[in-house]
Symmetry: C2
Subunit: 226 residues, 2 copies
Amino acid sequence: MKIAIPLYDRFTSLDAVGPYEALSRLPGAETVIVAERTGPVPDTVGSLSVVATATFDEVTDPDVVVVPGGPGQRHQMSDGPLHRWLRAVDAHTTWTTSVCTGSLILAAAGLLRGRRATSHWLAVDQLAEYGVTAVADRVVVDGKYVTSAGVSAGIDMALGLAERIAGERTAQEIQLMMEYDPDPPHDAGSREKAPAAVVEQLLAQREQRLAGARPATPAVAEGALS
Amino acid sequence: MKIAIPLYDRFTSLDAVGPYEALSRLPGAETVIVAERTGPVPDTVGSLSVVATATFDEVTDPDVVVVPGGPGQRHQMSDGPLHRWLRAVDAHTTWTTSVCTGSLILAAAGLLRGRRATSHWLAVDQLAEYGVTAVADRVVVDGKYVTSAGVSAGIDMALGLAERIAGERTAQEIQLMMEYDPDPPHDAGSREKAPAAVVEQLLAQREQRLAGARPATPAVAEGALS
């Protein structure tokens, strides 16, 4: 069971590490961090780099691919090494998956055409531009394509994948070892549940970013999306 | 607001990256990955390394310290560079915190004596050896010392810290940008909620490890604890 996580500059760390933590613990799993070049790949905040130990050329037949999102995604939307690699390995994968705006990269690479998929709540609408049916769910499974919503949703996706790959019991063991019994201080993690003022502020910041303006309010969490 | 995350060989990636993802997005936050030496620090699975960009000597006055856990913790229990650094910076911190078995390191460094603290459910009992009152909660706050349970509990801890540092509104924005609206496929993330057979198997594996034996069953999730 080979699991490949492709990175690019300004990915979101938790998008990659959440699924990594669950999937790399599957019995027999061999996980590789892959990128255009080997060496440190800086995340979007810029304070953390994860080391890619293999180039795209060196990883030819992963069983599972997990594409993280992050602001760097916007520079991965045209044909290039990542798209070519994704299309090539997708011919061999059992599961082609993404977290957050990673689904936009899969979509732009042409792999989600005609399928249902999700993304970060502030980006999910963009999937339609690539012939994808956008679904605002936390995890969307369409055939072997599994996409998840923003950042932390990759953990839930990975536990579901672990179950499909290795069975319920193994998935539960992994969950218990990760002590994934979530208890956030507020129930504010989705567009529907967060206070309206918080949702509106983040929507306004997105509009400012899309318009090319620097948001007036310090964008606390700007890094998380495209 | 300087946030320091000290790493050591065989830390657990999500222990470090969960809190990083939330705290590094605080307005004005400056986050640094610190270790005895700069360069890649391999995690416990061995497939992912995070780059330390500063040595302990170079980080003298962080406001927040987050100590991750992981199997490498067992090699950080005697006096050494990490303990000395923790004691030195603790004199300046606003918050000294840990995830998973990171609390055992804080305890061994003498920083939790007489306090209440938590740890990974398979390790929390060990806190008593260091004069700490072990509490099997997900997040335990005692003065400026905030400890969290296994691996994923660091995310909940960090959102609570974000609120104490920057207010409820900012914490909710960060949560919504991380889309932290958890929905695991099973409710199996705690000792109380997981099926008894799963709990018993992991307890038996721990006994085998403590006895120095290699567990007969492939330890799916062995990496997560000491």
